[in-house]
Symmetry: C2
Subunit: 226 residues, 2 copies
């Protein structure tokens, strides 16, 4: 289970626990600006009933090429634009899923959960259903388990859901979304900026779901995103 | 270009340089027993004409599950056996190629070279041609380049070659294989044990190629592999 501390992966974890899976969660410290999310991930893993949580420090940020890992590239705050945003981290989900595949093999796990969502993040190539299917096909040739006939499934239960349905699902499963963080430029206390794409998509989801937004915004954000 | 410091990846680098590619080499420090190989990789990159060499420290060893990364699992020295050996590192080539994909994207590179070989290492699932093809298909859905119509090729020029042909190719390209290391339990000076699978396959290759074996064996190996 790839767990970021965000709204989507928290919901994915709650779904997997509901469906009876023993969840071993994996988070990454990859030099992202919003490293605070790793702390939130650990607390979510406990609260939502995961069996285990590991944090792996990876070096993907050193390649640069993304506003999330390269301090020289600004996180856009002017509103969601069409196309692939500069917050896209090259090959990020490929690297994350590759690690998950290694851990799944060591644990003899048959399922890998990832909270990708193609609706709101359609700009990220590695959040699309065809990418997930292609990774699964590759995974089923890559491992000892594959050679021995045990299949690996990559499960992305949120992939086709709009944000408001993800939120309704999670609330029905008892998630307090105040425990989750989505902002691309979180402060150390977990305060959200309110104006990056991730904040905007999240707040829009709460509005459409008709649910009060439990996000902790930074004190200096008077009227987030307006 | 994935470069390990071993015989196969050195030959792959020499082939890519011959074919006119500007080679950006990537090595990993992943807690492998034979970490000395990373030093050899750096020297090979320079000597064989690479443009750049980067070492990324990754945490895949922390999952365990392999004799190469888990001190509790012995490296077998009794001779090559059928099946997947305990030196197999779960999802290793998937993780390596995922990083290479990220770097390729940042560099706008269209080709990733990997020195896998299906003949001598048929026990490793992630050295098979069908794995490489599946990774390439996935990579061509994963990235910004893919969305924009630029293809990524995963090139594995050694995949069908027996070890002796790899050696003949490399010698024709001017490689001194004394600069390469293959042993699974290298000492710090780069001395090979002579008895692990990798040493046995390598020495057998030199014998079949009719070439004197330039490997530096440890002083305490009186008659390697006999």
């Amino acid at each position: 289970m790839l767990l970021s501390g965000g709204l989507d992966s928290a919901t994915t974890l709650a779904i997997a626990v509901r469906d009876g899976f023993d969840c071993y969660c994996l988070s990454f410290d990859y030099g992202q600006r919003h490293r605070t999310e790793v702390r939130f991930a650990g607390e979510l893993a406990k609260k939502l009933g995961a069996v285990d949580h590991r944090v792996v420090r990876i070096d993907i940020g050193s390649f640069g090429g993304s506003a999330l890992t390269d301090p020289g590239i600004e996180v856009p705050v002017g509103g969601v634009q069409p196309g692939i945003p500069v917050t896209y981290v090259p090959a990020r989900n490929t690297v994350f899923l590759a690690y998950a595949l290694g851990l799944a093999e060591v644990l003899s796990a048959g399922d890998i959960f990832i909270g990708v969502n193609a609706v709101d993040y359609s700009g990220y190539p590695d959040c699309r259903p065809e990418f997930i299917r292609a990774f699964e096909a590759m995974a089923n040739l890559a491992t000892r388990a594959a050679v021995e006939g045990r299949k690996i499934s990559i499960r992305a239960p949120l992939i086709d859901l709009p944000k408001e349905e993800i939120i309704r699902t999670g609330i029905a499963l008892g998630i307090d979304y105040g425990d989750t963080v989505s902002c691309y430029q979180l402060d150390e206390a977990g305060g959200a900026c309110g104006v990056c794409d991730s904040c905007r998509i999240r707040r829009d989801g709460f509005e459409k779901a008709g649910v009060q937004d439990p996000t902790h915004y930074r004190r200096d954000v008077a009227s987030p995103g307006r």
